[in-house]
């Protein structure tokens, strides 16, 4: 650390230097007694500490202070003078002076204490600022990393949606060319299931948070798709989707498939031979739960004769478990079917 000692009087400089050594054994004292020497020193080296007299033949301690602070605002400057006044001290402090000590032999211990203090304070200030800068930098890095993660996640969801859509298109395309009516129907159904999943996936991308899905929108998409596919049926659809239902993706996917299967069953089986009828889909809140009810006035079925081991039934049961949904089914021959899905703890937005 270079310590500049600025004073016209060689004895006073020696006095100051004698006080520096015990406090800062590694310090390099640089005695300066003219403006050229001071400027050269300041141009060539960064001072670690400056002790200056106020009254100089070639300038004033105030100029020294200003020039040092202009080069390095953190460099501590102490004025050690016998010719100053309280006004000068106050003015100098305003300009950034770190301490002011009256030049007298009795004040030498005070000078030493002051030098120690201002150097420590400067070091603390610099450390604090560095720590703050590092904190800001770290925060920026974290924000960048988070934004990047969000981007990757969004891209991933987008790809999944596109892939599901591609599978849907391929199945649909194959179905169009199938000669066998059963194969055609099966392929169409598979295409529609893929689309149902793609629709859930697409709704994930609507949300700021990429882990929640607006299930009301999913249900709406699904009904529209099926209504188009079965446009030649005579089913009047009533949608009452007033309740909010925000679900984590892990629940939305199985629930989406469940709703799809139930709706598909209704379109396919409830009204044979293009019979006219009604399908009502309702989403409402029931306290902390949500309820989706899908009911029709179609042909219904005898619950006692439907075996619980069929693939559709089993699928619904397993999906219900995954989605944490209670299923209530009510159906009688010639008296329609009503299915209520109670979505336990289904969230609001």
């Amino acid at each position: 650390m270079r310590v500049l000692v600025i004073d016209d009087n060689p004895d006073d400089r020696a006095l100051v230097v004698s006080q520096i050594r015990p406090e800062f054994p590694d310090a390099v004292p640089v005695e300066l007694a003219d403006m050229d020497g001071f400027r050269r020193e300041l141009a060539e080296h960064r001072p670690g500490l400056v002790i200056t007299d106020y009254n100089l033949r070639w300038g004033s301690g105030m100029d020294i202070l200003d020039q040092v602070k202009a080069v390095d605002p953190d460099c501590p400057v102490v004025m050690f003078t016998g010719t100053g006044s309280e006004e000068i001290a106050v003015e100098a402090m305003k300009r950034g002076l770190n301490d002011y000590v009256i030049k007298s032999p009795r004040q030498l211990p005070r000078l030493r204490a002051s030098l120690r203090q201002v150097v420590e304070n400067a070091k603390r200030r610099i450390d604090l600022r560095r720590a703050q800068e590092q904190l800001v930098e770290r925060e920026r890095e974290l924000e960048e990393a988070l934004a990047h993660k969000d981007l990757v996640l969004r891209e991933l969801h987008h790809r999944v949606k596109n892939n599901l859509q591609t599978i849907n298109s391929l199945l649909w395309m194959r179905a169009r060319r199938a000669q066998n009516p059963q194969l055609k129907a099966d392929l169409n159904e598979m295409a529609q299931r893929m689309l149902a999943l793609a629709q859930v996936q697409a709704r994930i991308l609507d949300e700021e948070r990429l882990d929640l899905v607006d299930f009301r929108a999913v249900l709406d998409d699904m009904i529209s798709s099926l209504a188009s596919v079965y446009a030649d049926s005579h089913i009047r659809i009533h949608r009452d989707l007033e309740g909010e239902l925000m679900l984590p993706v892990a629940r939305a996917m199985p629930l989406g498939l469940m709703c799809y299967e139930i709706l598909l069953n209704c379109f396919k089986h409830a009204f044979p031979d293009h019979q006219p009828g009604h399908l009502a889909v309702r989403l409402c809140r029931a306290g902390e739960h949500a309820e989706i009810s899908i009911s029709d006035d179609g042909i219904g079925y005898d619950e006692d004769t439907v075996s619980g081991g069929g693939m559709g039934t089993r699928l619904i049961r397993d999906l219900a478990c995954e989605a944490n949904v209670q299923v209530e089914r009510l159906s009688r021959p010639n008296d329609g079917t009503s299915i209520t899905l109670r979505v336990l703890h289904g969230g609001r937005s």
Partner: protein
């Protein structure tokens, strides 16, 4: 499935279908053709502009995000400025694009992904409106 009988009025209706993904474009074109529409295809906005200048088109159905400098909304603005009688329907998977598409330059929005039959329904509905 899709209603089997094409609407008589649809027979002479020409639809410019702009979609960069070949599989989806071919599929939608087949579906529209089966429904009785005359379909002109384009894989990007530049091709669409060429088609618009070379052929008579009654309706434009366009994707929004496509490779190249211009997107489907630029195309909609161009059509609105140069062929104001031709309605434009936008297909997109992004809700905020629906808001933009809701402006004066577009007559309809269909959210991707959708069943090909849905597009046919919507195109029929738009043509009935005109």
């Amino acid at each position: 499935m899709t209603s089997g009988v094409p609407a008589v009025s649809a027979r002479s209706t020409s639809v410019l279908l702009v979609e960069d993904e070949a599989l989806i474009r071919v599929l939608l074109a087949e579906e529209l053709t089966d429904a009785g529409f005359l379909v002109v295809e384009a894989a990007n906005v530049d091709q669409a502009l060429e088609q618009l200048q070379a052929t008579h088109v009654d309706l434009v159905v366009t994707d929004v995000r496509m490779p190249g400098d211009k997107d489907g909304l630029d195309l909609a603005a161009w059509v609105h400025a140069h062929c104001p009688a031709v309605p434009v329907m936008v297909m997109s998977g992004y809700v905020h694009e629906a808001v933009v598409a809701g402006s004066a330059t577009c007559i309809g929005f269909i959210r991707k992904p959708f069943m090909p039959a849905e597009l046919v329904d919507r195109v029929r509905a738009v043509m009935r409106l005109l």
